[in-house]
């Protein structure tokens, strides 16, 4: 097992290098530092020396891959934009945002807010989706099945935004049960978190239940189901014990891979309910054209994705004893 993990880790390195290189090329070739400076400082009345100042302050004045003004050969090769901005991401040194704030510090601060929404959402969601799908499959020979599918497709077809807007309007404004938006830590923060989670659950339910019912129905065609029924087991016991265990594999593929992304939070959710998490951080960076932050978050996202893939493969061995990872 540890050999496998080591091998996966080593395989991840060229991928991360590739990601790093691609994002670097994208960011700095398509938009050279001059254009970035102009986007920040505005177009009219910016003179070349303002642009130079802006670049020097943020370290964009050095060459992309090769620094002519360096003192030694080592300096010329390493004191470049590539090494300073991109390669340093490998050691999780995110550097400073274009506004001047320490990115690493901001990430640590905002992570908690994102997690406080995504973790309950994930746990409640998983239990709810599995339970509802199993119930639908239990009644699959009746008209409930058809209605469930139609309702799921309808729920899926409604944009997520509608659930947020409607939820905010109905529960927040009309009935005044919950605050419309905002966030605070500690026990008073609970009431701020309920509405986003509720809306997000409704939004995600249609698609998830539909996919899970497909998985469960596939299982019902297997031989062991017939055997267990012949042995006299009740339908409920069959579903909730045996079929569930066997379907864990495909469900896990989707679920475990999304675990690392819990840190980033949902962009739209945080924008809507004014939650100061990492998703909100990204949106602010996009709207403020803060390239440094967007770069860092892209790299962080890639690391989390690869970590998620690794977790998925390891969880296979836990749930399916036939799988052996070499």
């Amino acid at each position: 097992m540890s050999a496998y993990i080591l091998r996966r880790f080593l395989y991840a390195i060229p991928i991360l290098i590739g990601v790093n290189l691609i994002t670097f090329l994208l960011f700095f070739l398509v938009t050279p530092p001059d254009d970035m400076a102009r986007a920040h400082l505005g177009h009219k009345h910016t003179e070349q020396k303002d642009i130079e100042n802006w670049k020097i302050q943020r370290g964009y004045d050095k060459g992309l891959f090769w620094n002519e003004k360096g003192e030694s050969l080592w300096n010329k090769a390493t004191d470049t934009i590539f090494v300073n901005k991109s390669a340093s991401l490998f050691v999780f040194d995110f550097g400073v945002s274009d506004e001047g704030r320490n990115i690493g510090h901001d990430i640590k601060e905002r992570m908690g807010a994102s997690l406080s929404i995504t973790v309950p959402l994930f746990l409640v969601g998983l239990i709810l989706h599995v339970a509802i799908s199993l119930l639908v499959v239990l009644f699959r020979k009746t008209y409930i099945n058809w209605w469930a599918i139609v309702i799921c497709v309808a729920l899926m077809s409604i944009s997520g935004l509608f659930y947020y807007i409607a939820g905010q309007f109905v529960l927040g404004r009309t009935f005044k049960l919950l605050p419309i938006s905002g966030y605070s830590t500690g026990l008073e923060g609970v009431k701020f978190v309920i509405l986003p989670i509720l809306c997000a659950q409704l939004a995600g339910m249609g698609a998830a239940v539909r996919v899970y019912t497909t998985y469960f129905k596939e299982q019902m065609g297997q031989d062991y189901v017939r055997t267990v029924r012949a042995m006299g087991l009740s339908e409920v016991r069959l579903l909730f014990t045996h079929v569930l265990k066997n379907t864990m594999l495909p469900i896990l593929t989707g679920v475990v891979a999304s675990l690392p992304f819990l840190f980033i939070g949902s962009l739209v959710l945080e924008a809507f309910f004014a939650i100061p998490g990492l998703g909100d951080y990204i949106i602010e960076a996009i709207q403020g054209k803060d390239f440094a932050v967007v770069r860092s978050m892209v790299f962080l996202g890639s690391v989390l994705y690869i970590f998620g893939l690794l977790l998925t493969d390891i969880s296979y061995t836990l749930f399916d004893p036939r799988v052996r990872l070499k």
Binding site: G18, V19, I22, M36, V153, S159, L161, G221
Partner: protein
């Protein structure tokens, strides 16, 4: 209508939309000629659900395509002065011409659906002096002024009674409109659609005219003729109502700038359709080329392609898209003179969004095609072809590609609804289409602010969502039937 000269104005997205139509026709002709590819589609044509939703989709598509033919009209005064042809800066589409009655009735600001007065009070001059009351909308203001001059009994009424007169007129007019749209819709339905459908039924099911009409109105036969006929009829009546009533009332009220909300919602169909259909088409060449190469050739080609798509997949989609859109903004700012007219800029941004999504989204389909090519490579006739020395490219084009096509169709059809929904979310975050462009995403983003008003302005949100929901729901249901028909792994329970 248009008396002056007119010249066509070609936008990039128009070219994209029509080339998609051409590709679709080519694909249909190719598929229907080969019996083994034609078989699965028989199931689709026989399903009432697929045919009903299909007609709805065709209806949306025709509205969208009508919006994809643009032209500029001549500015007659400026031309007369300058002694050569000067064109208006405003670019219109064929759909704008059809919806002209809705376009021309612009109010000043908000008004409710089917309203006579605007939403908020203003100072109005009456014979009693200046009071604060709801001002009449443009059409009713003109009628009011004319009646003041011609009808002395009306002029003597108080403002309350005058408004009451308008309300009873509205009741009468709406009833008349309903009746006339019923007839205006049913007439072409009975004269054109029914005979056409009957002819098709006669040819397809080899029956005579009388039996065809019977099947259309009572049901029966292998194909859902009843469903097709009646959904077409309903849509035609609806369309007639929108055009007729839209001339006299704002069916879905007006928004903050006074424009008809329903008209904006209909004009947004174009953006949704282009984004949902053109984007998967963009990703097809990359996905097909790389996926089939990786699966068929194997070896180092496979390793390289797997590395490329794993790396690309690692970058979180939304972040990559956000980064690319940021760069697009900077690029467009830096090269302002390339985009002279506003419509060129908004159009370029929509096209760039499609390209960005297409280039970041090809990895999923690529993986599927790779797995399928690996499987198809080991089939008997493919192995035999290789043994005979048939060239690789011929094998791929003749055996691998047609058999893997079902994955392509399923992916394209399934992605459509997701993309239409994604456009709304992107606009909300701020990386969607240009703010000057009319789209459902933009309408919803603005509507979230409008909902905070008092009284609540719910109609822009409602119309954008209803139209979007109809399109996405129809697409989802259609996609389900297509997927069940085309996918050989339809899991059957014993």
């Amino acid at each position: 209508m248009i008396a002056a000269a007119v010249r066509p104005y070609i936008l990039f997205t128009d070219v994209a939309a029509w080339s998609v139509v051409a590709m679709f026709i080519a694909f249909a002709l190719y598929t229907l000629r080969k019996p083994h590819l034609r078989e699965p589609w028989r199931l689709v044509f026989r399903s009432p659900m697929a045919m009903t939703t299909g007609i709805v989709l065709v209806f949306f598509a025709s509205l969208g395509l009508a919006d994809c033919v643009h032209f500029q009209s001549e500015n007659t005064e400026a031309s007369a002065e300058a002694d050569k042809v000067i064109w208006n800066n405003e670019v219109k589409s064929v759909l704008d011409v059809v919806l002209a009655p809705l376009l021309e009735n612009e109010e000043k600001t908000f008004s409710r659906p089917f309203a006579i007065v605007a939403l908020s009070k203003e100072s109005i001059e009456t014979k009693e002096g200046s009071i604060r009351d709801y001002p009449l909308l443009k059409r009713f203001q003109t009628m009011h002024e004319e009646r003041l001059k011609s009808d002395p009994t009306y002029a003597a009424l108080s403002r309350e009674d005058q408004l009451a007169e308008f309300r009873s007129m509205r009741e009468r007019e709406v009833r008349e409109l309903a009746m006339s749209s019923l007839m205006r819709g049913l007439l072409p339905w009975v004269l054109i659609v029914i005979p056409l459908l009957a002819l098709i039924a006669m040819k397809v099911e080899r029956i005579n005219f009388k039996v065809a009409i019977c099947r259309i109105f009572k049901g029966g036969g292998d194909h859902p003729w009843w469903a097709i006929a009646h959904i077409s009829g309903a849509l035609m009546i609806l369309f007639a109502f929108v055009i007729l009533a839209g001339d006299q009332y704002h069916i879905m009220g007006t928004n903050k700038s006074g424009a008809d909300v329903l008209m904006n919602a209909i004009r947004s169909i174009r953006v949704g359709l282009i984004f949902g259909v053109f984007t998967p088409i963009v990703m097809l060449p990359l996905a097909i080329l790389l996926g089939i190469s990786a699966g068929f050739f194997g070896g180092w080609i496979d390793d390289v392609i797997q590395y490329v798509y794993t790396t690309l997949n690692s970058i979180p989609g939304i972040l990559l898209i956000a980064a690319l859109v940021l760069m697009l903004d900077v690029y467009m700012d830096a090269n302002e003179d390339a985009f002279k007219l506003l419509i060129d800029r908004t159009d370029a941004r929509l096209l760039a969004l499609c390209l960005i999504f297409g280039i970041t989204g090809w990895t999923g389909l690529c993986r599927l095609l790779r797995a399928e090519s690996l499987k198809l490579r080991e089939l008997d006739y493919v192995v035999a072809a290789r043994a005979f020395g048939v060239k690789n490219l011929t094998i791929i084009l003749r055996h691998i590609l047609p058999n893997a096509m079902y994955l392509v169709v399923i992916t394209v059809v399934l992605q459509f609804s997701g993309l239409v929904l994604a456009e709304a979310i992107l606009s909300y975050i701020g990386i969607g289409v240009d703010p000057a462009m009319v789209s459902w995403g933009r309408m919803i983003t603005r509507a979230t602010q409008d909902m905070g008003r008092d009284p609540v302005v719910w109609w822009p949100l409602f119309s954008a969502f209803t139209l979007m929901l109809t399109l996405v729901l129809a697409a989802n249901l259609f996609a389900d039937v297509v997927r069940d028909a085309l996918d050989p792994k339809a899991g059957a329970e014993k």
